[in-house]
C-alpha cells in the first residue's frame, strides 16, 4: 500500500470532504504547494483557488476553496475554508452567468470567486 495521508476539507458550516489521499495540491499566498505523505508540519494561508486531491484509489477530487488555511501534521491534512465546494457541486452555467455579471459590474471578489469555481469545475 502506498503511503497516504488523511485529508479533511471543512467549510465553516459543514464538512465538505474527508478521506485518504496520496497528494494534495493547494494554492497558498506564496504559490502552489503540494503535500505528500510525510511532509513536514505545515501551516499556511490559502488563496482563493482550486484544490486538487489525488485520492489513494487513483481518483481526483477538485474543490473550489475561498480563503482559508492548510495545516498538516502527523500525516493529517486539514483544509479549512470559509466556503468550499466540490467540483461536481458547481453549476457551470450559473457560474458563467455570475462571472459575466461580476465582470460587467466590476466586482473583483465575485469575479475571482466565479473564476475559481469554473476552473475547479473544468479541471475534474
Amino acid at each position: 500500500m502506498a503511503a497516504e495521508l488523511h485529508v479533511e476539507l471543512v467549510a465553516a458550516d459543514r464538512q465538505v470532504w474527508s478521506g485518504e489521499a496520496t497528494l494534495v495540491v493547494a494554492r497558498t499566498t506564496s504559490g502552489d504547494i503540494g503535500v505528500m505523505p510525510g511532509h513536514q508540519p505545515l501551516l499556511g494561508v490559502l488563496e482563493s483557488g482550486p484544490v486538487t486531491i489525488r485520492t489513494s484509489d487513483g481518483g481526483t477530487v477538485v474543490a473550489a476553496v475561498h480563503g482559508g488555511f492548510i495545516s498538516f501534521a502527523d500525516n493529517k491534512l486539514s483544509l479549512l475554508a470559509e466556503t468550499a465546494e466540490l467540483s461536481d457541486e458547481i453549476d457551470v452555467q450559473r457560474e458563467q452567468r455570475e462571472l459575466e455579471r461580476a465582470k460587467a459590474e466590476g466586482d473583483a471578489t465575485a469575479e475571482r470567486r466565479a473564476d475559481v469555481r469554473l476552473r475547479a469545475a473544468t479541471a475534474r
Binding site: G44, F69, D74, S78, E82
Partner: protein, 304 residues
C-alpha cells in the same frame, strides 16, 4: 341559553383557538431546535481545526499580535449581546440582557468604558427604550444565522479592537450569549473573546498532545494575521448558532406550558359551563314546578 352559559361557551372557544396556535408554535419550534442543533454540530469540525491551528501558531512562535496582546490598563471594552428578533420565548431574552447588564456593571466598576453591540431586535428594543447608547446592531438572521452573518458581525468588532484605544478602539471584547446545554437547560453566559488567552485556547484541546513544530507559509505573523480574525468569526458563528438553538428550545418550552395551561383552562371552564347549564335546568324545573303548583292551588280554590 342563559347569559352566564353563553359567556363560558365563548371563552372556551377562544381558549381552544389559542391552544391550537400555541400547539402549532410548539411543534414548529421543536423541529427548528433539531435543525439548529444539527447546524451547531456541522460547524464543530471547522471550529476544532481552527482552534488547533491557532494554538499551534500561538504556542509555536513568539509572535505578538494586537488580538493576543493584553493592554496594560484596559480602559474600553466592547460587549456583544446576542438576543433574538422575536419574543414568545419565555425568559430567554431577559436572561441574556440581564447577564449583559451585570457584565457591563462589572466592567464599569473596574473603570472601563463599555461599548455595546447588539444582535437581535429584542435586545435593541430594550436598550433603545432606556435610551442607552448602542454602537452597532444587527437583526434579521437570529433564527437561522449563516457564516456570512457571523462575518458581518465580527468585522466591526475586529476593526474596533485593532484600532488604538485613543482613536476610539477597544481593548477587550466580551460576548454574552445563551449556551445550549440541553433541550431543557440553556444558560446565558458571558465570555471574554479578545484579547485571546492562548493558554485557555490550549486547554480546550485534549491533554498530552504535543504540537509539532510547524513550518509557516508565508510567515508566522501572516498566518496569525489571517487566522485570528477567522477564529473570532468562528467563535461568534458558534455563539450565534447556540443562541438560535437556545431560543427555539425556549420557545418550545414556553409554548408547551402555554398549551398545557390552555388545556387546564378549558377543563375548568367546561366544568363551570356544565355547572351553569345544570343550574339553569334546575332553575327552569323549579320555575315550572312552582308555576304548576301555584296554578293547581288557584284552580283548587276557585272550584270550592
Amino acid at each position: 341559553m342563559g347569559a352566564q352559559l353563553r359567556v363560558y361557551k365563548r371563552r372556551i372557544r377562544s381558549v381552544t383557538a389559542t391552544k391550537k396556535i400555541t400547539k402549532a408554535m410548539e411543534m414548529i419550534a421543536a423541529s427548528r431546535v433539531v435543525k439548529a442543533q444539527r447546524k451547531v454540530r456541522a460547524s464543530a469540525p471547522y471550529a476544532t481545526e481552527l482552534t488547533r491551528a491557532v494554538t499551534a501558531v500561538g504556542t509555536g512562535s513568539n509572535t505578538k499580535h494586537p488580538l493576543t496582546t493584553e493592554a496594560q490598563t484596559p480602559t474600553r471594552s466592547a460587549v456583544l449581546l446576542l438576543t433574538s428578533d422575536r419574543g414568545l420565548a419565555g425568559a430567554f431574552n431577559s436572561n441574556a440582557i440581564k447577564s449583559a447588564e451585570q457584565l457591563t456593571a462589572r466592567l464599569e466598576a473596574e473603570g472601563k468604558e463599555v461599548d455595546t453591540y447588539i444582535v437581535g431586535r429584542r435586545g435593541l428594543a430594550h436598550y433603545n427604550f432606556r435610551e442607552r447608547k448602542v454602537v452597532e446592531s444587527w437583526s434579521g438572521f437570529t433564527d437561522e444565522p449563516s457564516y456570512a452573518d457571523a462575518k458581518k458581525v465580527a468585522a466591526p468588532l475586529i476593526e474596533a479592537i485593532e484600532t488604538e484605544t485613543a482613536d476610539g478602539g477597544v481593548d477587550e471584547l466580551h460576548i454574552v450569549y445563551t449556551e445550549f446545554v440541553s433541550m431543557m437547560t440553556q444558560t446565558a453566559l458571558d465570555a471574554r473573546l479578545l484579547p485571546l488567552r492562548l493558554e485557555e485556547v490550549a486547554e480546550e484541546k485534549p491533554q498530552g498532545e504535543i504540537l509539532p513544530l510547524y513550518d509557516f507559509e508565508p510567515s508566522a505573523e501572516d498566518v496569525l494575521d489571517a487566522l485570528l480574525p477567522r477564529y473570532v468569526e468562528s467563535r461568534i458563528y458558534n455563539a450565534l448558532l447556540q443562541s438560535a438553538a437556545s431560543k427555539h428550545a425556549a420557545t418550545r418550552r414556553a409554548m408547551k406550558s402555554a398549551t398545557d395551561n390552555a388545556g387546564e383552562l378549558i377543563n375548568t371552564l367546561s366544568r363551570l359551563a356544565n355547572a351553569a347549564r345544570q343550574a339553569e335546568i334546575t332553575q327552569e324545573i323549579s320555575e315550572i314546578v312552582g308555576g304548576a303548583s301555584a296554578l293547581a292551588d288557584a284552580t283548587a280554590g276557585s272550584d270550592r
